[in-house]
């Protein structure tokens, strides 16, 4: 087998893309300079009532910018389409786009469906009116689909943990020395320090982020909302106490907190299990209060609903916090948990402690945001109306204040998933929590950086992957903010 080049037979596109990108960068720079230096275009009113703007230089630069941008995007799409068709014939890029084929298909289906039905989809549909939001959403969904399909072993070319002798630190596109039948014949993005496939590790790493980050953010939001709403609504001593606690956690440097919480020694004492047991109660309280406050006037409907929902939530809670039949299992003492046959899933101690500490770090900020929103909204007329109707405080908080605070909260949710992704990467970067051979992006960057001056390829793919995912989330949040402001 020959080693693959980057673009293979579609190399004729490279100079074109180079020219298009150069023109785009140049025109953007000229545009910025021109908009500072040149006078504003003079609008002249024609006799027939139409407007013409004067300055031809500006229009020229602007059209150059638009054309070169379109050309670059078109060329990028051409790379992918040709790559899917030609496969390894089109070099590493072609082979990678072919591996990502399920992701492209799902993205196209998702976009086609969403754009077709966008008027019926509320805020989500409006996202497709803003180009920035669409780009962001595309980036995010790309990694989400990559994570899901990667977990189903569709995209990966090799096992992320297996080592192939002779592939240590090999450059991208190196063929395997002795390829067996059915195995993929190349390391598309090269081999890392331990002769593992960089491409497969990057894809598998996406699954870890896609699993943990949104879930951890959701838990942080439930905790922040359950505590922040009463703090803002009631005020007084409760508010003082909770705000003090939140500020206490916020005054901690995050990394010091991680170093104190996420070490094997602390896991051995069972502290994370206690914290998990406390923190994960909040979603149940949230659900219970949410449903009870709404339906308590109809006990016949409320009681079975609450029993059902809380039963399922309680079961999930118990199977979440108990491992191997125990909630806490240290050398000194044990606390009984759910018996093993009923236990739905086990979370390894390393993942649990990462999850708990990320939730713990994020929830005070959410608390402060929710509290501020509640303070603002509780003075509105509709809250006063609900109070006059004699609604309970929890009904007002959860069904009057919370829905009206949803705009900023949704935007912050997107931003916070990005921030959680960064935190997960930080943990991996310092080698905390997750096992050292795990393919998550932070650990891979940390491993790759040690040889960075000689071999670039092990560290750069996960770094760029993390960058694009967080960028996508930020752009998505920006698009959502723009669209929700338009209402």
């Amino acid at each position: 087998m020959d080693p693959l080049t980057w673009t293979g037979s579609i190399a004729f596109l490279n100079p074109l893309l180079g020219i298009a990108l150069a023109i785009m960068v140049l025109s953007i720079l000229v545009w910025i300079l021109a908009s500072i230096v040149l006078p504003e275009p003079q609008m002249t009113v024609n006799p027939d009532g139409t407007l013409t703007s004067g300055s031809g230089v500006r229009n020229f630069i602007q059209s150059m910018m638009r054309l070169s941008f379109l050309a670059s995007v078109g060329l990028g799409v051409a790379y992918i389409v040709l790559g899917v068709l030609l496969g390894t014939g089109a070099g590493i890029i072609g082979a990678m786009s072919q591996q990502f084929l399920p992701v492209w298909v799902s993205l196209i289906i998702l976009y086609a469906m969403s754009i077709a039905y966008k008027r019926r989809l509320g805020l989500y549909g409006k996202l497709f009116d803003s180009p920035i939001g669409m780009i962001g959403f595309g980036l995010v969904m790309f990694w989400v689909f990559t994570g899901i399909f990667g977990a189903m072993d569709l995209i990966v070319t090799h096992d992320p943990l297996s080592q192939v002798s002779g592939m240590k630190n090999k450059v991208p596109g190196t063929p395997l020395p002795a390829s067996e039948d059915g195995a993929y014949a190349w390391y598309l993005l090269g081999g890392d320090n331990l002769a593992r496939d960089v491409f497969s590790r990057m894809v598998k790493g996406a699954w870890i982020v896609v699993q943990i980050a949104p879930l951890a953010t959701m838990f942080a939001f439930m905790i922040g909302i359950t505590l922040g709403l009463p703090a803002g609504y009631y005020g007084g001593r409760l508010d003082t106490l909770l705000s003090f606690l939140a500020n206490l956690i916020l005054a901690f440097p995050v990394i010091l907190l991680f170093y104190l919480l996420v070490t094997p020694e602390i896991v051995a004492t069972g502290v994370p299990n206690y914290m998990a047991a406390i923190l994960f109660v909040f979603p149940i309280i949230f659900l219970g209060v949410l449903l009870n406050s709404r339906y308590y006037t109809r006990p016949k409907f409320r009681t079975p609903l609450l029993i059902g929902v809380l039963g399922v939530a309680g079961w999930l809670y118990l199977s979440l916090i108990s491992t191997g039949g125990y909630v806490i299992d240290t050398d000194d003492y044990r606390i009984w948990g759910l018996p093993t046959p009923l236990d739905l899933f086990d979370i390894p101690g390393g993942i649990l402690v990462v999850f708990v500490s990320v939730v713990f770090v994020n929830s005070p900020t959410v608390f402060r945001i929710v509290r501020g929103l509640a303070l603002d909204i509780k003075t509105r007329d509709y809250v006063a109306a609900a109070q006059t109707r004699g609604e309970g405080p929890w009904y007002i908080m959860l069904w009057e204040i919370l829905p009206n605070a949803r705009g900023p909260l949704i935007v912050d949710f997107c931003l916070r998933i990005g921030y959680t992704t960064i935190l997960l990467g930080t943990l991996g970067f310092f080698g905390l929590g997750l096992p050292p051979e795990s393919p998550d992006w932070g650990s891979t960057i940390n491993e790759g950086r040690k040889l960075l001056s000689i071999y670039l390829h092990p560290a750069l793919p996960p770094a760029l992957a993390l960058l694009s995912l967080v960028l996508g989330l930020n752009l998505l949040a920006d698009g959502l903010r723009e669209e929700s402001l338009k209402d």
Binding site: I32, S35, A251
Partner: protein, 337 residues
Amino acid sequence: MLLTALCLTFLVFYLTNLYPNLEKLAKTQGNFRMSDEQVESFLEKGGYLQSTPVKYGEWLGVLPSYRHTNEDGTVQGRCILPGQTAEESPNFCGILQGYWGYSTVFKEEVSTVVGNRLALTGRLMFWVMLLMVPSALILGILAGMKEGSATDRTLSTFAITTTATPEYVSGVIFIAIFTSSAVGLKWFKGTATQAMENPTFENFFLPVLTIALYGMGYIARMTRASMTEVMTAQYIRTARLKGVSFPNIVMKHALRNALIAPFTVIMLQFPWLLNGVVIVETLFNYKGFGWALVQAAGNNDIQLLLAISVVSVFVVLVTQLISDIGYVYLNPRIRIS
């Protein structure tokens, strides 16, 4: 504020004094093959086996510190420094007496360790601020002058990209591009170890740039938001209608009001920069405050960790205070009422 500091240090104290952590400390101080009894006796000698509140009181200096009489009759204790006898050493030694303890990793007094490291980090931060604040403000003001223009779009995209790039990603990318032999530019040095004695542009610029970029995007976006808000205000419209030139409007009318919000943001950025400092100092091997934090936490150096958390909490609280005071000073509406 004092209460916050007390609570936080107690929390750190509690977590570092959990038994598995003490065991790790004993094993890194003694040797890794100590039996359980040896660990026990080591901890007993150092006074680590008292109850946590008592030890915390000793660290604060409100309780007389622990002393252990060895078999041969010599007395050792926290307050007895090498070369002192038990009689001449004071009974109380804690931070109230100005004694910060002895670092078990660096084999030095904590106060000297923290002082030296802080000086190094201070130099890093000074250059970061010098690079970050002006460029962020210029970016934000240029973007906010005309909302929705191409300049605004480009600069905002740039700002979003930098906020989406954590230090360990941008640092790795910079090292890859500018220092590695694979790309071949080799403009800068990949480590900043030499910069501790002899900072030059070549070995110091990359760490500074890495920290500054991450914080810059956020400040620029805040500046842009506040600038766009000011530019839509009534008095700006009046000035335009009077025929004041556009540069004059921006420089004389809008700027002062637009800078109130970013000031608070810049002050509140300090705690975040601390995170960046830890990552960048590890990445570039610059042995400052953040590097010391990693070393202390990795080896469970209790005294040093406590001192570090005191310093960082102090930084956080002081910057909050400054931002509140500065806000009042800058905003005439609050000052006069």
